[in-house]
Point group: none
Chain length 344, copies 2
């Protein structure tokens, strides 16, 4: 007899008789007291029975749960044109499978807009929120987050250890792992001088973490880091990359891969031969395959992040605080294309 | 109504009637379609029902005749007397709910024994493994892990970024978070000099990480760290703790909590008054409640770790590499008892 069956029989017994002694129950079910106590603990933990000395009773009448027509999930993303369309697609698919409704808000990386959108979603009656904040959550978010009033899952954001947001459930791509994969690929191809090219973004520190870990792990030369503006590489920034290549850098990890495309155009104009003079690994894999040559890229599991975030939120809405907080990291994968070759 | 009851009622209904429409089922159970679809997906994934348009039927006879307990999960733990009994309980319960068989191996923190046990489990035909290695996985595990040949989930172990084991699925308590909670509790009570007392274990570095993060976050005085032997505190080690207290330390985070119990006895003999002279937070919450006074303790979600590890392994066995690797961290909670009081 399996656990579920036993639980069902125990519940039936206590429902019919109001209260049951454990010794009798063990005998009638033909199980040991150890097994029975474990079952009772399980059922009591879920509020299905109430423990009294030597036995169990029905729990006090709980609040009536009214059946709901549908569950509504609010989803706030900073942008709906880059990266997030795939996260949204995953969330939308999973919500549809579960018959839940997904309502989207976009903050356009504006914090005032973000709080306004969340307020509107909550006033609209969402049962829970998927939150991709405009920046990594810190102490300044504490009061706001604690007052939201519905369950929330952080998406593609990493709460500071012990910080205000660390008690929230979270689902995110493991970007340090992804960056590590990209640099390892270049190291295995024989590249010793690898630089990271990155724009300012909430994700950049996490990519840097993986980049530096790989540089250490494979004993690469002290790396440079080259900055890129929010609007893509300026002429001066692209010039700095060309200079680095002329100075001996043979591998680049470029975040994000829209920038990688623009950078490739700059490099071509400057006469840098790809991939002969420099190997490139793009990060994000949004448009990397469309470059000429198609770019090797690290692909975060965006749709899976969306799917798992919906799963976790629905479970949290249904089960409340009875389950421990969860932080789920999903591993990116490397997609090797034509922009990375062995260093002679 | 809780998950298990619903599943049982759904199965009963479909067994009695052969097929049921989802809309009717939702109404008769008084649950939302969202909840029902999730239940049906769960049951269908386990071959207990078959989905048809708008409803469910009994599975095909061919599937029905296939025994459900064909899946066998091997579980290797370093010890079955401390901490792991609760992880095992969670795993066992979840395996039983899913109709899988769980086979246990114990390595007794011996690496040769560990490899032997894994070999035996694999030769015995397990479909997947839950692995709590005797120490944190590193490069020395790479070859062995890659040759195991069945899906494996790391349990209560943290793979190094980009290391051999980092591609494995993993489920673990978030020990840095737990240690942070313990130190924050002491800081909020006004303690400024807090020391960590720890034994050598695979978990110690993760607890140290959370301890140091909290010391930084709350601007506590530079902390000491006091070591404890594998067999509990020696007289000299307990003496060092007493000395630290005489020297102004007013708070202790003690890992593990069996050691905390022994330490409390040493302190009492030395004339240290608890909790007046020193507040103690134990880590693990195995026996902390049994101390006199009952010890405040950080409780990792052990059973939930076991449950989620089984869930993840079963999904991985069923879905193969189509889903991205997952690293799940579950948050510990703080249980405040009588060993921690405000510092005057």
């Amino acid at each position: 007899m399996f656990v579920e069956q036993r639980h069902e029989l125990i519940l039936r017994e206590v429902r019919e008789r109001g209260s049951v002694r454990l010794a009798e129950l063990a005998e009638s079910l033909g199980v040991s007291m150890v097994t029975l106590r474990r079952d009772v603990e399980h059922l009591a933990g879920r509020g299905l029975v109430h423990r009294v000395h030597g036995g169990i009773t029905l729990p006090e009448p709980a609040q009536e749960s009214t059946p709901r027509e549908t569950m509504t999930i609010g989803m706030l993303v900073p942008a709906a044109t880059y990266y997030y369309p795939n996260v949204i697609r995953g969330a939308r698919e999973r919500a549809a499978e579960l018959g839940a409704r997904l309502v989207l808000g976009v903050s356009r990386y504006d914090e005032a807009e973000e709080r306004m959108q969340v307020k509107q979603l909550i006033n609209g009656g969402v049962d829970g929120l998927l939150l991709t904040l405009t920046r990594q959550p810190d102490a300044s978010h504490a009061e706001w987050l604690s007052g939201i009033g519905v369950p929330a899952v952080l998406v593609e954001r990493k709460a500071e250890l012990g910080g205000a947001a660390s008690l929230l459930d979270a689902v995110a791509s493991d970007h340090p792992h992804g960056a590590f994969l990209g640099v390892r690929h270049l190291a295995e191809l024989g590249h010793r001088r690898v630089a990271m090219v990155t724009r300012v973004s909430p994700t950049a520190p996490r990519i840097r973490e993986g980049f530096l870990a790989a540089v250490r792990a494979f004993g690469l030369d002290d790396p440079g880091e080259l900055a890129i503006d929010q609007d893509g590489p300026t002429d001066a920034q692209a010039g700095a990359v060309v200079e680095a290549i002329r100075g001996g850098v043979t591998g680049l990890l470029v975040h994000n891969d829209e920038d990688a495309l623009l950078l490739v155009q700059h490099l071509r104009v400057a006469g840098v031969r790809l991939p002969d003079e420099v190997s490139i690994v793009a990060y994000d894999d949004e448009v990397a395959a469309l470059s000429d040559p198609p770019l090797t890229a690290v692909a975060p599991p965006k749709a899976a992040v969306g799917r798992h975030a919906v799963d976790l939120l629905v479970r949290r809405i249904q089960e409340g605080s009875s389950m421990p907080g969860q932080h789920l990291a999903l591993l990116p994968e490397l997609r090797v294309r034509d922009s990375s070759i062995a260093h002679e």
